[in-house]
Amino acid sequence: MSAYQRVLAARNNLRPNAMRYINHMVSDFVELHGDRRQGEDAAVVAGLGFFGRRCVTVLALEKGIDTPDRLKRNFGSAQPEGYRKSLWHLRQAEKFKRPVLCFVDTAGAACGIGAEERGQGQAIAENLWEMMGLQVPVLSVIIGEGGSGGALALAAASRVWMLENAIYSVLSPEGAASIIYKDAGKVVEASEALKLSAQDMLAFGVIEGILPEGDGFSEALPAVQLAFEEALIGFDGMTGEEIRQARYARFRRLGGDWA
């Protein structure tokens, strides 16, 4: 599959959405709305539930399932309120010592006058800040699109996985085409140059593993479940400070060996 075909696959409307994973993996899910400051943003889903026997905090960038739902959720592109909602729940997870499970599927953070007025940059920066200090494990899986800082805000995690056909990118291929090639039409070339496939991410050390989705949801669901379960067992023997240090060490080495 070419890089651009993967981009199309990752964006396919028929791909299982975040809520579908949550409904199948997390029992007694209680969704909690609002950012406790000024608003509610349905692009970010937050709540509590049981993963196996553990109580977990769940965060997701949700694109929606049909047109009205997608419109309501701004196609998974979160406003600052969405990131402030996730921030609140990260703090709650720290308070109650709950692991955090994140599902990432977004083309990127919302772009617009309102998002800028309400501090999109600051909202994402605060999520990164909070995540890098947490003493509970944060596990993220990119199930479709991992677009830029808007995706990273829910993926500055202890462990990150990608589904086989998911993508992870610093900028959309369209954006890269117009910036680098000065031609928005050169999306195919830009997709190739950006190196955004799960294989690329594994080679860069940006993710821990690639989860198969050959037969679709029936294969992807147990793969995500197993990855999360095994990782949580691994964190059971660690102290909060060790968990935090391990997360920093994970990002600390990314970008090359400079010694």
């Binding site: 940059g121 830029s148 990314l254």
Partner: protein, 283 residues
């Protein structure tokens, strides 16, 4: 200092600089705001401010060091760290060479230690002439080392931020620097140490969404563009005309994201004062 670097790097171009060929060693600058023409020496004396309207010219990282730190106090760190081309991105090598020629720097940020009005600090200044100060793995590594060193030595950090955001040519590895630097800033903060960021024109993208917005005190230069999405991207995406002054420092102050706007001639004084107010922090 500027004259020296202009002499060393004949390709060095500054904002508003006109074709200097006819005038040889005395390039003339035209203010982008009021069109007033000034020569280099009067500009350099005045901290690169327009004599008439006070416009803050964009200045390079070395000039920033010169106008902020106590003379002779700067000790540069991580001088060998420079960008590679991890993706084999088309045209990136040439872009890097061009950026090095144009800026006279090896990377888009200079880091080190020094003092301001006798107050020791760790210091960074980003270089807009180096690919718009964009952050790739080398910039991320240099900043991470700076905050780590500052933490070990119990030093506050003062940083001049100018950046177009994550560097596209290094793909997701650039994106990862946002988390990496955020982690280093957080560790520094948890040690009770001070971090002051001065946001300059322009601070956008992944940098505005990470360490630019994580400081204890956020200052900005007058008129600096500060935002997550750049104005052109917003206009293209939303097909809306942006209001006058949108995303400028004055707007960000109104919105509550910038603590204080400080003119260049007052920055050194204020930084020294703020450092003094936090003396002994993290002890």
């Amino acid at each position: 200092m500027l004259e020296k670097s202009l002499f060393k790097n004949p390709n060095l171009r500054l904002e508003g600089m006109e074709n200097a060929a006819a005038e040889e060693r005395a390039p003339v600058f035209e203010c982008p705001r009021c069109k007033m023409r000034q020569d280099l020496s009067s500009l350099a004396e005045g901290l690169f401010l327009c004599q008439r309207c006070g416009h803050h010219y964009k200045v390079g990282a070395r000039q920033r060091l010169g106008m902020t730190l106590d003379e002779g106090s700067f000790r540069e760190m991580s001088v060998r760290i420079a960008s590679r081309d991890p993706l084999g991105f088309p045209g990136y090598q040439e872009k890097l060479e061009q950026a090095r020629r144009q800026s006279g720097e090896r990377e888009a940020v200079i880091t080190g230690t020094g003092s301001i009005l006798g107050q020791p600090c760790a210091f960074f200044a980003m270089e807009h002439q180096f690919m718009m100060g964009s952050m790739g793995a080398a910039v991320g590594e240099k900043l991470t080392r700076l905050f780590e060193r500052a933490r070990q030595r119990r030093l506050p950090v003062v940083g001049y931020v100018i950046s177009g955001g994550a560097r596209v040519q290094e793909g997701v590895l650039s994106l990862m620097q946002m988390a990496k630097v955020s982690g280093a800033v957080r560790l520094h903060a948890d040690a009770g140490l001070l971090y002051i960021a001065v946001l300059c024109d322009a601070t956008t993208g992944g940098v505005a969404a990470s360490f630019a917005m994580q400081a204890d005190v956020i200052l900005a230069e007058p008129g600096a563009l500060i935002g997550f999405a750049g104005p052109r991207v917003i206009e293209q995406t939303t097909r809306q005309k942006l209001p006058e002054g949108f995303q400028r420092a004055e707007f960000q102050l109104e919105q509550g994201f910038v603590g204080k706007i400080v003119r260049r001639q007052e920055q050194r004084e204020l930084l020294g004062l703020l450092l003094r107010m936090h003396e002994g922090a993290g002890a």
